[in-house]
Every structure is written in C-alpha cells, then in structure tokens.
C-alpha cells in the first residue's frame, strides 16, 4: 500500500517536479493548484501527508492549513509547507500557522525526500 501525498502547488513545473520525484520513489500523489479545493480532495483522498505551497493565488496556504487543522477528520494529517519565503521569521510564522514542518525552495532532492519520508512513514 503506497503512502499518499496531496500536493497543493500553483506552479506547474514545481508541481511536476514534486509529483515526479515522489512517484519515482513509490508515493501515490494527488495534485491541486487551488487551496479551496484542497479540503475536499483531502477528505476524499485521505492522504498520509500534505505538501502545502504557502503562496497560492486565491487563499494563502496558511489559511488552508488552518482549515485542515480545524477539521477533526483531517487534523491529524501532517502538513509540510513548501515555500520560497526564505526570509528570517518565515519559518516561525509557518510553524505557528499549524504546519508540522517546512521545506524551503529551491529544494535539495535528498533532503526533500528525507523529510517526506520522516512524516509519511510515521503516519
């Protein structure tokens, strides 16, 4: 039974990068570019992990994370933020927003996979 990862990411290339990388390593992925749709997909897909881009066009990834954490059926799913906000204080802001961990763009393949593995395997 492969582990399932929901990827919320608005950039097409980054989405492809994450999806290819994860699928090559045996994960099953579901993708959406819209934060608003993420909740419905998550309820249906029941992922082991959610990769959340913070800068989304309509609602912020942090907002979506808040909805997920407020929903009893989803609250236990780890959310890993993926963002290019590599500024001081961003990490704190993201963790305070309810995300379990944080990956800065651009990613390094090895450390990216290590982090995914850490959270997905636990679930």
């Amino acid at each position: 039974m492969p582990k399932k990862v929901l990827i919320v990411e608005d950039n097409e290339l980054n989405m492809k990068l994450f999806a290819d990388l994860l699928e090559a390593h045996g994960y099953e992925t579901r993708q959406t570019r819209e934060g608003l749709k993420a909740i419905a997909i998550a309820r249906n897909f029941k992922p082991d992990l959610i990769l959340m881009d913070i800068q989304l066009p309509e609602v912020s990834g942090l907002e979506v994370t808040k909805w997920i954490k407020d929903d009893p059926s989803l609250a236990s799913i780890p959310v890993i933020a993926v963002t290019a906000f590599a500024m001081k204080g961003d990490e704190k802001r993201i963790r305070d927003g309810g995300c379990e961990d944080y990956i800065a763009k651009p990613i390094t393949v090895s450390s990216f996979l290590a982090k995914i593995r850490k959270f997905a395997e636990v679930a």
Binding site: N11, L13, N14, D20, A24, K88, K105, I107, F112
Partner: protein, 537 residues
C-alpha cells in the same frame, strides 16, 4: 554696522554728576568766600550783587543737572563759570566783564556737544587774555584786587573752576567708556541671530537690536510685561517664564507659536535675568527653520520609502526567482541522481553544470537580497556569543568541495587551544566567511592556495583570508563596496565577479562596527582582513 535703533536716555546719577557736583562745589565755595568776608568784618552788602551774580551758574547747574541734556548743561555751565572767573580775577566788579560773560557762551555755542575739553581751553584762553589785559592796564583797575578779600575771592573762584574742570574731564572719560560700551553692545546685539531686547530693573526697555525692532515693525514693546500683547495666545506661558526667571534667577526658554501680530509663527524665546536686575529677552524666529525641517523630513520620508520600496521589490524579485530556480535545481538534481535510468556521459555533465549554476544563482539572489536589506537598514543583527573558530571550521567544510574541485588548497591557522569567543550575529559572520572563502577559491588558479588566519587581538577578532589568485587592479579595488559600479565596469565578464560578495562582506562588517581591509596585487593574489569587535559596546 548700524547703530541701535531704539535707545532711551539713561536716568543714571553717574551721567549727571559732572554737572551737579561742580555746581554744588561752586556754590559752597561762594558761600565760604562770603563767610570769610563776613568773618573779617568786610562789607557784605557791597559784595552782595557780585555774590548773587556769581551764584547764577551754580544754581543754573543744579537745575540743569535735573532736566537738560547732559552735554549742553555742561557747556553752558562751563562757559558761564569761565566768564565769572574772568570777572572775579580781573575786576571783582561786575560791569567791565559783562561783555566777556556774554561773549563766551556765544563762542562756545559754536562747538559741538562733545567738544567739552576744547571749549574749556578756549574759555580759559579768553579768561587769561582778559586777565593780562587788566594787568597791563587796558581794563579799569579792580577795586578789591590787592585786598585780602580779593585774594580769597580769587581762591574760591579758582577752586570752583578746578573742580568743574576735573569733574568735566572725568565725566567725559566715563561717558566715552560708556559710549564705547554702548557701541560694543550694539555690535554684539546686531551680531546675535534673532531679536534682543534689554530691559532695566524697572522692566523698561533700554535697547534692542535691528532684528528685534524689525520683529515689532520698528516699535518694540517699552515694557517687559507688554512684550506679548494681552490677547496673544502665548502670553500666559511667557508670563509664567518671567515669573520663574524672577524666582529662580535662571534663564527660561519657551517656544511660542504666534508672532507679535498674532500670525502663526514659531519663535524661541529666552528670558535671562541680568545681574543689574534687568532682563535680556531673546526672540529667535524659527518659522523658516520649521518649514525647512519639514521639507527635509518629507525628503527623508521619501528616501526611506524609496529604500523600503527597493527592499520590498528585491524581496519580491527574490521570491519570483526562487520559484523557477526550484524547477531548475530540482529537475537537474533528479537527472544527476539518475532517478529514471542512466544518463549518457555528456548529458550527465550538463546536468551537473545546470545544477551547479542554479545553486550559484541562488547564492547571488541571497546576496542581492541581503545587500538591499543592509542598505535599507532592515538587516537586523541577532547578537549571540559563540566560538568564531566553529564558524570558521564549518564554513571551510562547506567550501571544501568547491576548493577540491578547483584544486585549491585551504590552509587554516587557528589556535586550537583557545576559543575565539565573539559577540556577534552568527549568521552574518558565517556569511562574511563564506563570501570571502568562495571568492578566494573562485579567483585562485589550479594549484593555488588559500590561507585562513584568525586571532583575537586587543579586543578584536582579526580574520584574514589570503589567496594566491588573480588579484585586483587599483581600479577594481577602488570599486569595492560599490556594488552598482560593477555593472558599468563590465567585470562580470571576467570570472564570476566579486563586487556583490565583497560589498556584502563590507556592509555586514560595518554593521558590526568592524573594519575591512583589502590588499591586492594584480596577478599575485588578494588579502582581505576583517576586524570585528569581540564585544558589543
């Protein structure tokens, strides 16, 4: 320099006594003469017309000293005395000398007010000529000339005259020094920026300077308590200042927001109690200063806004750039790890190059962002005490792979027994080191060598990175710390460019109140020395 505009007459006894005192002495001398005559059994009645005539200047002097202009009183008095002296000396009779008595004031009136001494000399000359004329027989013989009474009368007249001359000379001298003081006062009054108003112990205006008069349209208030009109908005504050100045004997300062005519304006007022119990009021118009300050403030705000805009722009751009970089670095990384199978030789190398370039671009973006933050004053230092040697070792570890690839040897000279404890921003120090090291490696030729040396000297951390690389020309050295110059000079075409990295190193060093020293010889190498204080002040 112009003279004082408003200078009311001083009612000071010092200025009056050159008239008053001689007049008194004269009258006393006259009285003594009459007394002497009476004691000797002389004919007082016969002397009375002379005595009355002689008393006129004395009485005149007493009256003039109270009312009349000082200089004129002196001249009139002196002349009438001179006439009387002539009369007494020559004739001790009235009629023959009446001509001189009248003529001398007429001559004296030709003189200017200030020529008191000259008037004395002329009058004395006339007196002497008359006296000689009498002695030579051109004038009728004086009736009492040879009597004891005559000598006593002469003595009295001479002593009165002498007293007057001395008093006049003294008065002139003191008036001159007063005048020079006034002149001096005028000079410094006019030299002072703003209006100056001097009030005496009775709160009356003594003087002001040009600017002060101008502030009140030429009519400065005559009394201190009227300095601000009753309807003036700041009057109560001004009165309170005077009160506390009176109480404490300390100068008081206040800012008023209206001028004398009630228009909005800014004046700095300073009320200073003087040793003479008088007051000095200084009113400095700050209205224009305020306006200029406001302009500067706005300019400053605009600059700050520009700078903030720039920082936000760089932050935005940095974010925009990282998104495609993620794909570049990520996909090339996947290719390098041959995730989907083997890669033919050259392509594997290209994947490596794409990945490496992506990483380099990422570093550059970071540097640009940091530099813009430093320039906008938004790079906040998080002070922390740590061992600089640790940071040096970990930085070298990070740069080692690149050095190995470039076949450059890194040699570290660190005192292993001693911790290099420093109070600084760890991340900034690491950034400084990484930039210096990567520059040194980047600009070294194959087989080159980079020396890293760190030691604590006199409360500073001295960090030196020396390479045997390509070095910099004098012109290139001059552009360090000016990242925007690099684009013009086209140095980027050379290797990967140093300007950005070194500029950032310099900015971060400055933020720590440290110093950067760069020595370089083209073709021989570069030595960069960073001096950071070990302790924050």
């Amino acid at each position: 320099m112009t003279v004082t505009i408003h200078q009311p007459d001083r009612s000071n006894i010092i200025d009056k006594w050159p008239v008053f005192l001689p007049s008194l002495i004269w009258l006393l001398a006259l009285l003594a003469t009459l007394l002497a005559v009476a004691l000797r059994g002389g004919d007082i009645l016969a002397l009375l017309p002379f005595a009355l005539a002689a008393a006129i200047p004395g009485l005149l002097g007493l009256i003039l000293s109270r009312f009349t202009n000082r200089e004129w009183a002196q001249i009139l008095l002196m002349l009438s005395w001179a006439g009387l002296a002539v009369m007494a000396c020559v004739t001790m009779g009235f009629m023959p000398s009446a001509l001189i008595f009248i003529a001398v004031p007429a001559i004296a009136s030709l003189f200017q007010r200030e020529k008191v001494l000259e008037a004395i000399i002329i009058a004395s000359l006339i007196g002497a000529i008359t006296w000689f004329a009498g002695r030579l027989g051109y004038l009728p013989a004086p009736p009492f000339m040879d009597s004891a009474l005559g000598r006593v009368a002469n003595l009295a007249v001479m002593s009165g005259l002498l007293a007057f001359i001395l008093a006049t000379l003294f008065g002139t001298a003191s008036r001159r020094s007063q005048a020079s003081m006034d002149t001096e006062r005028t000079y410094w009054r006019d030299g002072v920026e703003g209006g100056l108003f001097e009030y005496d112990a009775e709160d009356r205006l003594i003087g002001t300077n040009e600017q002060g008069a101008a502030q009140f349209g030429g009519q400065p208030p005559n009394y201190l308590l009227n300095f601000l009109p009753t309807e003036h908005a700041d009057r109560s504050a001004f009165m309170a200042s005077i009160d506390s100045a009176r109480r404490t004997r300390q100068a008081q300062a206040l800012r008023i927001s209206h001028d004398a005519s009630g228009l909005a304006a800014n004046y700095d007022i300073r009320v200073t109690p003087l040793a003479s119990k008088g007051w000095l009021v200084h009113a400095h118009d700050r209205t224009d200063d305020e306006a200029q300050l406001e302009v500067l403030r706005q300019q400053g705000a605009t600059f700050a806004q520009d700078s903030t805009d720039k920082t936000l722009f760089f932050a935005g751009v940095s974010h925009e750039l990282r998104t495609p970089l993620n794909a570049i670095i990520g996909f090339s990384d996947m290719m390098r790890s041959r995730l989907f199978g083997p890669l033919p030789g050259k392509y594997a190398e290209y994947a490596d190059l794409i990945h490496e370039s992506g990483q380099h671009m990422l570093d550059l973006i970071g540097d640009v962002l940091d530099l813009s933050r430093v320039e906008a004053g938004r790079y906040e230092l998080n002070y922390d005490t740590f061992d600089a040697a640790d940071v040096i070792r970990s930085s070298i570890k990070m740069i080692r792979p690149a050095a190995d690839a470039a076949e450059v040897v890194i040699d570290v000279n660190l005192d292993l027994d001693q911790a290099l404890l420093i109070q600084a921003d760890r991340r900034a120090v690491r950034q400084i080191l990484l930039n210096l090291l990567s520059n040194a490696v980047k600009f070294s030729n194959k087989g080159g060598r980079v020396d890293v040396d760190a030691q604590a000297i006199d409360g500073d951390l001295e960090l030196t990175v020396t390479d045997t690389g390509v070095g910099m020309s004098a012109e290139e050295l001059a552009h360090i710390g000016d990242p925007y110059a690099q684009g013009q000079a086209g140095q980027l075409s050379d290797k990967r460019g140093t300007g950005l990295g070194l500029s950032l190193v310099q900015s971060l060093t400055k933020l720590h109140h440290g110093k950067m020293d760069v020595r370089s010889i083209k073709g021989e190498g570069t030595r960069v020395k960073i001096i950071l204080p070990l302790q924050v002040d």
